[in-house]
Symmetry: C2
Subunit: 234 residues, 2 copies
């Protein structure tokens, strides 16, 4: 393996994870942050990250970071961007590749989260982040906003059953603005991707609201038939 490219310069490669969670009770999009454990900038608020090891792929490194922090390994994760400015890290040249992940907050192992001193922070009230991490968050958030329009990934942030109000709340939390209720329901239901359950959520109103469930197999079927998810409610 090491026969070629010997004279070329090598670089440190890291991954950083923009981990989104959604709190269905207070209707807020949140971000999982840690306090940086090493110098420089030790103690500063940071995205969870780590260096890429020799034997692992970049994506495996991102999965490792996520798993160590949350105990989760079956989560929606997408590569976001490679950040390669020579001066981006005050500790030395590090090229970092950011990923964003969507997780159900309630699935996280609380003991692990405690041990790793990870904290959920409101996306609308983030503390100052180390290095260029606020850029990484900004880009991932922009991608998330685009993604939930054209892919049914919003469901990754919700419990298995949810009401239409809760689903709309999620979209509004991500878009950071209100969306038209009638239009939203019409578009969502017309795609025929939700199953209406025989059960009502009764905490928020006396009458109650029916629970729905997203049906991934049906979505896969529809995709094969050339159907495009489209929930453009802007």
């Amino acid at each position: 393996m090491a026969k070629y490219y010997r004279s070329e310069e090598k670089h440190l490669i890291a991954v950083d994870c923009v981990i989104f969670g959604y709190d269905i009770l207070d209707k807020n999009l949140k971000l999982l942050l840690i306090k940086r454990k090493f110098d420089p900038l030790k103690g500063g608020w940071s995205l969870p990250g780590g260096f890429v090891n020799h034997e692992e792929s970049v994506t495996e490194a991102a999965c490792r970071v996520l798993k160590q922090l949350t105990g989760l390994d079956q989560v929606y994760m997408e590569q976001s961007y490679a950040w390669g400015e020579p001066q981006r890290d005050v500790g030395g040249r590090v090229i970092t590749i950011s990923y964003f992940a969507l997780i159900k907050i309630q699935d996280i192992d609380p003991i692990m989260q405690e041990a790793s001193s990870a904290h959920w922070r409101y996306i609308t009230r983030l503390p100052d982040l180390v290095l260029d991490h606020s850029n990484l968050v900004g880009r991932a958030l922009k991608e998330l906003k685009e993604r939930i329009k054209v892919k049914p990934v919003g469901f990754e942030l919700l419990p298995e059953k949810f009401t239409l109000v809760q689903l709309q709340d999620l979209y509004e939390a991500i878009y950071m603005k209100t969306v038209d209720k009638r239009n939203f329901r019409k578009k969502m239901l017309s795609m025929n991707l939700l199953e209406k359950l025989d059960e009502k959520e009764k905490n928020t109103s006396k009458k109650g609201a029916y629970y729905y469930k997203f049906m991934p197999p049906r979505y896969e079927d529809f995709k094969r038939q050339g159907f495009y998810f489209n929930l453009d409610v802007n």
Copy 2:
């Protein structure tokens, strides 16, 4: 700068450029390829690429590769994906970051292209490519297909003035299927982003067809007003 992270492993980082061009005469999307100049796999068909140097950003490295090959530096370029499988390069571990670029074929400096032995190949009839380069092309092509739906980047591949038939030909070459003419024109013109010129293209029909021009400043204005480019003609 070199005080921290001393014990961490370093890696070779490369960039690879997926350079799309469009031939308005034969209505084909093309890709700029080179014959690999070094071992391993010397002589194989390859995307143009190179290692990232210490003092340049990753994007600067991609621009350098593009400029060396084509003489161009004001082109549309977008980062596509970081490819980080440990075994992807038989010559050693190299993490590569792919970019795709859209250029007007006629703008390329022919002398430079000759000297660099770069060749335009039809996207539908590519030769076998070295390493995982066909994956890099596949992903960039998928992204291009999505991009021309929601951003006016298709114009980057066309001369400044073009007929509506030529514009539709471009979309069909990228989608690799026919699109409905009436629907295409209706959607394109309703966005009000094209200026109709007082001049006709007369080579392809006796009656001739009016030339149009894309108006970037108007697009920027519209964007500020919350307008979204949308040309979903699938």
